[in-house]
């Protein structure tokens, strides 16, 4: 398998910058997600790796060798297209065998490989069907089998689950990851769906406006987003703007506009204006008169319930606190319901106050 190197890649269409100074290294066997809004440059990057787009600047390499002058059909990649692009006039067998057939492999070898792949995607016995006789999920698995047939060095997936309905998508997420693990192929996939990115990827690159904002494991990006965009695009976040007003007891104190002070473990120079992000599930909601401050190492602000959305197993509260609306997720295991306008206290660990870079 293979390593994909992307170094300072740029692509412009007239005045529009599709990619700007994009660099990343995708490790051998890694399942790497490109996540971002549409128009963020992720598809442009994927198509540049495939060879459909020639970057204006920078270098893309596979196993250390630049691919700039290698045409698409010699790049040794497997690609799964958004709408699968199965050949409608060929059977499933001929679709899967296409890559080997154009390489003039012997018939017996092609047959054996097709059988093996049909077993891998659990569609034995579907070989003689035409793509239109298959369901969406089956077509998706055939497209995957076809992309894997030639044992390519890199697998590229363009919105792999985008065309499936929700239930099927969840099933296929699991299956796709399983197959990728078993085959051990270096995989790059594009998605705008944060949940898909979180569940499938070993690492994620968050892209916006042609730039890479952050690269890291899903958990790392979720727990330590560096920018407002990353915090808001991967998951939900509450933002508090304030000014650093000193350090005490190993914590940095941030003075919010309304005079409330909150604390963070992160360090920041005194006097600087900063934005703090706190994930909605990190809060604990308590009654109006909190237990005496036995533990000073906890953030505590007072607020009022402004709204509630009940979702069965969890409840989303909108709480008016410190001069803003704070979103809070709670597991549904409170004994009494917090009514509208009820005074509450929000507490959270300073470790969950993340100082953002912008």
């Amino acid at each position: 398998m293979s390593v994909v190197g992307i170094t300072k890649v740029a692509k412009r269409y007239g005045r529009v910058t599709a990619l700007e100074d994009v660099s990343m290294t995708i490790a051998d066997g890694e399942f790497f997600g490109l996540l971002g809004p549409s128009g963020g440059g992720k598809t442009t990057l994927l198509r540049s790796i495939a060879g459909f787009i020639d970057p204006d600047d920078g270098e893309i390499s596979i196993d250390g060798k630049p691919v700039k002058n290698i045409p698409i059909n010699k790049r040794d990649i497997g690609m799964m297209f958004q709408n699968y692009a199965l050949f409608p006039h060929m059977t499933v067998t001929d679709n899967i065998g296409f890559g080997l057939s154009v390489r003039h492999r012997p018939k017996a070898e092609i047959e054996a490989r097709v059988t093996e792949l049909l077993r891998l995607v659990r569609l034995e016995g579907f070989g003689e069907r035409k793509p239109r006789q298959l369901s969406g999920g089956q077509q998706q698995r055939i497209a995957l089998a076809r992309a894997l047939a030639t044992n390519p060095r890199v697998l590229l997936l363009d919105e792999p689950l985008g065309a499936l309905d929700k239930k099927l998508r969840e099933e296929m997420q699991f299956e796709l990851k399983q197959i990728q693990r078993n085959v051990g192929i270096t995989t790059v996939f594009v998605t705008h769906d944060q949940e898909e990115a979180l569940t499938l990827s070993d690492r994620i690159a968050i892209m916006s406006e042609g730039k890479v904002l952050q690269i890291g494991a899903p958990r790392d990006i979720y727990e330590r987003p560096r920018t407002r965009f990353a915090a808001g695009f991967l998951g939900t976040a509450n933002f508090f703007e304030g000014t650093v007003s000193g350090r005490e007891g190993g914590l940095t104190r941030i003075l919010l506009a309304g005079g409330t002070a909150i604390f963070t473990r992160d360090e920041a120079p005194e006097g600087r204006s900063v934005t703090i992000a706190v994930r909605p599930e990190k809060f604990t909601v308590g009654g109006a008169t909190p237990a005496p401050a036995s533990d000073a190492q906890v953030n505590r602000i007072a607020g009022r319930i402004a709204g509630e959305v009940f979702a069965g197993n969890s409840v989303t509260y909108r709480i008016d606190a410190a001069g803003r609306i704070v979103t809070v997720y709670m597991q549904n295991r409170m004994t009494e319901r917090l009514g509208p306008d009820a005074p509450v206290t929000l507490t959270w660990d300073p470790a969950h106050s993340i100082v953002l870079e912008d």
Partner: protein
């Protein structure tokens, strides 16, 4: 209630279709029958005879015209289908300077009356020294049928997009393999339909052929027209019968082919 009105509706629909078929086919059937009737004046009782087919076999003028028509139609089909398919491919898959202008210029020849196109061609061919003759007729027919081919093949190309060709490339196929294994089979129903159109346009063409045919040279429609003016003979029924049967056989073959080659 609903079922009764449904039934009357059904009867009406069948009757409606029946009347249309009657108007379309009765004249043709009468003509075909009369080709086998001995009487030159269409008198009944019907008296089966192949006399008009025998007469046709001796009518060199009509046969030469028919041969000209078939040859020109075949040549036109080959040339117009090839050029038109390549043009449609270029329009669908490549970006080049002046593309939209060329695409727009393709439409007016379809709407300009053939009489005017014919006159313009006659003047232009005379002026440039191309002159009149079978070559000029062929040139005219190609020019007339090209837009139809481009539009028919183009709409087929648009219907399946570039993704399949891109997929073939990622799987290792070179341009040639992609064309023969992916593009061509998918385009085939469109190409066949376009070819039939090109053939029909040329074979039916009267106006352009009439204008561009010099004295002594003619195509079948032109010859039939002048024969009618001189005085109708049932030989024309005979040759029409042959042509109708041939074209029906062709259409049936196409219907079968498109069922095999087409998808969806």
């Amino acid at each position: 209630m609903a079922s009764t009105s449904g039934r009357t509706g059904g009867i009406f629909a069948i009757g409606y279709v029946g009347v249309i078929l009657l108007f379309l086919y009765v004249p043709i059937l009468v003509m075909m029958l009369m080709a086998f009737n001995a009487s030159p004046l269409y008198q009944l009782p019907f008296d089966f005879d192949l006399v008009w087919f025998k007469a046709l076999a001796g009518n060199d003028q009509l046969l030469t015209a028919a041969r000209n028509s078939v040859l020109i139609a075949i040549a036109n089909t080959v040339i117009a289908t090839t050029l038109g398919t390549l043009t449609a491919l270029a329009f669908a898959r490549y970006h080049f300077f002046g593309k939209s202008l060329l695409q727009i210029l393709l439409i007016p020849p379809i709407t300009i009356p053939w009489l005017i196109t014919g006159t313009a061609m006659l003047i232009f061919f005379f002026w440039t020294g191309i002159g009149r003759g079978l070559h000029a007729i062929l040139l005219g027919h190609v020019a007339l049928s090209l837009p139809y081919v481009v539009i028919i093949v183009g709409s087929r190309l648009k219907s399946y997009g570039v993704a399949l060709e891109e997929a073939a490339a990622t799987l290792g196929a070179n341009g040639w393999q992609t064309f023969w294994r992916v593009s061509a089979p998918l385009m085939a129903p469109g190409i066949v339909a376009a070819a039939l159109f090109a053939f029909a346009i040329s074979f039916d063409q009267f106006v352009i052929s009439y204008f561009l045919a010099p004295v002594g040279v003619s195509t079948l429609p032109v010859e039939i027209y002048s024969a009618i003016r001189k005085g109708f003979t049932p030989e024309i029924n005979a040759i029409s019968t042959i042509i109708i049967l041939a074209s029906m056989a062709m259409m049936l073959a196409f219907a079968r082919f498109s069922k095999f080659g087409g998808e969806r």
